[in-house]
């Protein structure tokens, strides 16, 4: 394992300490229990937005804390959901009296820990609503699975709901918006290499020089299928067709399109992928109204990318364009 770290046990906290130093104007990091909170929280009268999950997906979630996005983020150990006490403390720290929305990715551990925290908060009179994100088309949603993973749409939901809360929307309305975003968004990912969990010390899976894993999530788990490595054009075609067919997206739709790097894939490749994506979208009459190309939701040092499409109406787009000031997203401010 080759990483710029000191030791696996301390990597999460040491990285967050660096985040706090690098962005002292935007966020504060509380160490016991561990959470990242917007500077100046709670914002009186504003709905609080809290998310969280295992670490190793940076900039998600800590990098999305700040004005116009998250009020707090709860980082667990690498790939391990945070614990109820972290979530409870973060939720109470950002409650400005208008209640708090939990944006939860659909993983058994995340669901259970956020659930326990929500009950603890309710017992103390903090109103909490939870929305579960489950946008990964690679997982069939059936009685025979834990349902679909929450992936790329999480980032878009955090931005859009954060803007709505900043505008003063009430909890019920922000919650409804978050469900709408989840309903209109779909994602799929591909891996060219595995990633290495620091505490494990070796790659989670082995992949031959000519192979790729199609349909991976963000935790280094193997995907749905192992396939021979193909040109970017074919890979993007495969992913986009699956995403478009699933919702389905239709000719005339406007979308927010994200090409997300898994951590070790350079921007040069991600822009090339974006070019291929627009080509496929164009052939289907789908227009990209807004675009994101970069590392937004990573899987440690995995090489690969994911594509996320969100069907967006004028309201979503105007919320998207609202000012945001966080370590990871910054515009209009």
């Amino acid at each position: 394992m080759k990483k710029l770290i000191n030791c696996p046990e301390t990597v999460v906290r040491e990285s967050l300490a660096g985040l706090a130093l690098a962005h002292a104007d935007l966020v504060k990091v509380v160490m016991e229990p561990l959470y990242v909170v917007r500077a100046g929280a709670p914002v009186k009268g504003k709905v609080g937005i809290v998310s969280g999950g295992g670490s190793g997906h940076e900039p998600m979630h800590g990098g999305y804390v700040g004005r116009g996005m998250l009020d707090a983020a709860c980082p667990g150990e690498v790939f391990t959901s945070p614990t109820p006490d972290q979530i409870e403390a973060a939720t109470r720290a950002v409650d400005g009296g208008a209640g708090v929305l939990h944006i939860v990715k659909n993983y058994t551990g995340d669901i259970m820990n956020f659930q326990m925290a929500a009950e603890l908060c309710a017992a103390q009179g903090v109103e909490v609503r939870s929305v579960v994100i489950n946008d990964d088309v690679a997982v069939e949603d059936s009685l025979y699975t834990a349902g679909r993973r929450g992936v790329g749409v999480t980032v878009l939901a955090e931005k859009i709901c954060g803007a709505a809360a900043e505008r003063g929307w009430d909890l019920a309305r922000v919650e409804a918006l978050c469900r709408k975003v989840n309903d209109g968004g779909r994602s799929m990912g591909v891996a060219l290499t595995s990633c290495t969990v620091p505490a494990a010390g070796k790659p989670t899976f082995e992949l031959g020089g000519g192979e790729m894993e199609m349909g991976i999530g963000i935790h280094g788990e193997p995907g749905r299928r192992r396939m021979p490595l193909a040109p970017a054009r074919e890979i993007v075609e495969t992913m986009t067709v699956a995403i478009v067919a699933d919702l389905p997206f239709e000719s005339g739709d406007r979308v927010i399109a994200m090409v997300n790097g898994m951590g070790a894939t350079p921007l040069m490749e991600l822009y090339l992928v974006y070019g291929e994506l627009e080509r496929v979208l164009g052939s289907k009459g789908i227009a990209a109204a807004r675009r994101l190309v970069g590392n937004y939701m990573t899987s440690l040092d995995m090489a690969g990318c994911s594509i996320t499409l969100l069907r967006a109406d004028d309201e979503m787009i105007s919320l998207w364009d609202d000012p945001v000031l966080t370590p990871g997203f910054r515009w209009g401010a």
Partner: protein, 210 residues
């Protein structure tokens, strides 16, 4: 022969040791069908549970299990944190007011804990989870109790049943947890949680007997 507070503390010590020793095995199992953190999660959680119970636990059985439950819930995270935390939490309530546990008391304790995992995780036998080790173990305990078998034999039988259940997870396709994302690719791998559950029972058999 009865299970005392010291037995519970000894059990927690044994668990800390067991999960430290089997950490990389559990992580490798989780790497195959999950996200390669189960070993670290269990080792971290039971190191904390043992330490906090030894320092802060009140004098009664229930207090020891409550402290252990709280530290598992606070220190583990993931799916296994709430699930094992619930096992100890429900187990603690089953010990309310008791100074020691006879065979019936021990079985009642495990029954409460395992039912708690079922309620929280909504998994059934055959879903390829820790329950595939825990439910057969519970069945063996109940049977032993009916037949008036003595405690260390009951626990030995339960551990054997858990081991069979653990091995039986290999051919299963996961229907719960992370492994279910793999669909058919989850077949052919032993479930990490079922494995940590077997270790949990084995440690109980080894310590409660003494």
């Amino acid at each position: 022969m009865a299970v005392t507070r010291d037995h519970l503390l000894a059990w927690l010590e044994a668990l800390e040791r067991t999960y430290a020793e089997n950490r990389s095995w559990l992580t490798d199992l989780d790497a195959a069908i999950g996200d390669a953190d189960h070993g670290a999660n269990m080792a971290r959680g039971f190191a904390a549970a043992r330490a906090e119970a030894a320092q802060n636990a009140p004098g009664d059985l229930r207090g020891v299990l409550q402290v252990a439950a709280a530290s598992l819930i606070r220190k583990v995270g993931g799916a296994s944190g709430p699930l094992y935390g619930t096992l100890f939490l429900k187990a603690s309530t089953a010990c309310a007011g008791k100074e020691t546990l006879d065979a019936a008391g021990v079985v009642a304790m495990f029954q409460a804990g395992i039912k708690g995992i079922q309620q929280l995780g909504k998994a059934a036998e055959g879903d390829k989870t820790m329950l595939d080790a825990l439910l057969p173990a519970l069945g063996a305990m109940r049977k032993g109790l009916e037949n008036g078998t003595e405690l260390n034999v009951i626990l030995a039988d339960a551990t054997a049943a858990a081991e069979r259940g653990m091995l039986a997870t290999t051919p299963m396709q996961a229907r719960k947890g992370r492994a279910s994302y793999l669909g058919p690719r989850s077949v052919g791998h032993q479930d990490p949680g079922a494995t940590s559950a077997w270790l949990l029972l084995r440690a109980a058999a080894e310590t409660f007997g003494k």
